[in-house]
Symmetry: C2
Subunit: 415 residues, 2 copies
């Protein structure tokens, strides 16, 4: 008996797991922007890229780029991308799968003549853990990284600019080295779903038609802290009781406004003692909906619900908008081509919205962009147990190869 | 014009404020068990006691005791008591008012012959801040302070026994020096209400017929933490949404079961990030009712409410009893005598239950005990702005004097 050689999907999965061992924190997978583990990941990826004779370079935000050129120097370029930084104590596939799978596609296509070049960018920073803001690399690639961004500091007080210098790069060269290749006519990001939809439907892959908009708000309920034993119920101004009624209203509103999702994820109670009526509650609200108008209506309705829950208890509430992001559509023509490729490869694929933010939404206004989702078993992500199935990775690879082979212009950006 | 000399109530208030300046933390009133500020408070109180020629001693838990003896050495003893330790950043009257007012009563009575002795004990520890358990001094006085209590440590790792030694006292002498005086036939604690009932009714004082029982529980809701953007509402197991529905049920149950009070005072959400569905909530429940059966029924009902809120969301909940204290009745005959004294002094006084715990509930099973409440303006206590009104202090003093002058045996303990 001889051992069967691994399938191409198995090889992709095994490479992702190999990268997961390159970590800033032993025993887990934590690979932050421009850390030592990022350097190790670059070295590993460079080795794999050179195996297939690809030209490589690192741009000045530390994104690793490789290009497969076509004979015609004026030919357009297809961009494949995802990210190689991670959250704290991450899984092996968030971001990394898209990079490794795209590289496998380049390898598969090495003997196929194509009328365009293909660039693969392993983005150095998407999660935003180190400097507290996401999409640093894609912001740079679309000319949106500012001096203010470069001055931000990490937990050790190191600025973005210094982190770039410490990695041997030059922040002053960002505008020249971090632009998109000329004539980039289409862009594709492959990413795990990070949600339960495909797993619940028992489907391998989906095409992403848009990344849904979100509003983040902060609600502060101010009542009166008082003795839990000596204050009769009618004389109370319980900030937590008010917040609780509101949280129930948030859940109910979302449940009746599908596909809205609304989450109170952070909630702090003050003073927070067993025998003291809560005088103050500080809570977050995260609202997402593919339709921006529906999202704005939800914000208004849930502010009113908070007001009502507070007023009936003699509690004051203030709501403040912390951040807002409009829904970003993927390029419809490109998304259709991706869906057709999946069909030809034998897969039923739904179009769906991404509830999570991705670099694709930063590129979309600048270049026709689409996204392919790969099932997340149990919807699990941002967790060491995050995984992918071999059959799903094969479906994504086959679809990507068919998509690239059939890809044709013209496409217009969806400003 | 000459300045009017202060009234006796003004003098009591001014002495309380003087003691409030003796603090372990400059700028606030924080006087913990056997601290340096306790020593200063002893010195101040000793001076006032000696002004009226009273015999004094410090027992081996650091309670300061003074006695006005009657000629007959076999005469019974009336005990007056309250405490001189404070919570963190306290007000000037919690505990201290009872000690200072009782001393003023002794002064007023100095020329009145009485058929019994009167002992005043300024208890060294009621709040339980330093060692994390309350009523240390009254437990010692009733023979309930154990070796386990003495081995407890404060934040610096100092044991109760060592704290006693460091104050120049001897923990081995507690059983002999900390007993009640022989023939103690009645006990009275004067204390601020620490609640809003008297203020809402515009009444100066009340007699306390009992200290209401309480149950403290811990509820842990376990759902699934997940991405707030990618997890549709029907696929969520939101621990906070479950807890919120339960908190609303707690409030509603209490509102419809007067005089029950129920409070969720502590609540922690995990992981507690804006964009993550809460996977775990850890919450407290404090339930109090004068009737122990009604309290037990409430515990059962609110455990069931938590179960229902959890189950409907695929969340698990566990409830565990953290502590329980049965309702303690004050001595009915003594309480009636106190109420009659108040009437003779010209005050309408209600009987009420105390929602807060007091040393009186530790003494009550051992000696006929009653309690007099003094209005807390705005119901405010455990706060630097805690105050009392002169007219209310005068009402309490007049009532106390009349009560003592008319006090008669026999009384039986209410086991």
């Amino acid at each position: 008996m001889t051992e069967a050689s691994p399938t191409r999907a198995e090889r992709i999965i095994s490479r992702c797991r190999e990268l997961a061992r390159l970590t800033d924190v032993p025993g887990e997978t934590t690979r932050l922007f421009l850390s030592l583990a990022t350097r190790e990941a670059h070295t590993k990826l460079l080795g794999w890229m050179r195996e297939v004779n690809l030209e490589t370079r690192t741009d000045d935000t530390g994104s690793l780029r490789t290009i497969r050129r076509t004979a015609n120097p004026n030919a357009p370029t297809l961009l494949l991308f995802s990210h190689i930084d991670t959250v704290l104590n991450a899984g092996p596939f968030d971001g990394v799968l898209g990079v490794v799978l795209s590289l496998a596609a380049l390898e598969e296509l090495s003997t196929s003549p194509l009328p365009f070049s293909i660039e693969l960018i392993a983005l150095s920073e998407e999660e935003g853990i180190r400097f507290g803001f996401p999409f640093l690399s894609s912001l740079a690639l679309t000319g949106q990284l500012t001096a203010e961004h470069l001055a931000r500091t990490d937990a050790d007080g190191i600025t973005v600019a210094d982190a770039i210098r410490n990695f041997g790069l030059n922040p002053h060269h960002i505008s020249s080295t971090c632009s998109l290749s000329p004539n980039t006519f289409a862009a594709l990001e492959i990413h795990i779903e990070q949600g339960p939809v495909l797993d619940a439907a028992n489907e391998s892959i989906a095409v992403v038609e848009g990344i849904i908009g979100q509003s983040r708000l902060r609600f502060i309920f101010e009542g009166h802290a008082n003795h839990a034993g000596t204050t009769p119920m009618p004389l109370r101004h319980d900030a937590l009781a008010a917040a609780a009624q509101w949280i129930t209203a948030v859940e109910q509103y979302a449940a009746t406004h599908n596909p809205l999702v609304a989450t109170v994820g952070r909630l702090e109670v003050f003073p927070g003692a067993v025998n003291v009526i809560p005088g103050r509650v500080d809570a977050s609200l995260d609202i997402r909906h593919p339709d921006d108008t529906a999202r704005h209506e939800a914000v208004t309705a849930l502010e009113a619900a908070a007001q009502q829950a507070a007023t009936s208890r003699g509690v004051r509430v203030t709501a403040s908008l912390q951040s807002e992001q409009a829904t970003v559509s993927m390029n419809p023509a490109l998304t259709t081509q991706l869906q057709q490729a999946a069909h030809r490869a034998g897969h039923t694929v739904r179009t769906m919205s991404s509830g999570a933010g991705h670099d694709a939404m930063i590129f979309a206004p600048h270049v026709p962009t689409t996204m392919l989702f790969v099932r997340s078993p149990n919807g699990l992500s941002h967790h060491p147990d995050e995984t992918v199935r071999e059959q799903d990775v094969e479906a994504a690879l086959a679809t990507t190869l068919d998509f690239i082979r059939a890809l044709h212009e013209p496409l217009t950006t969806n400003h």
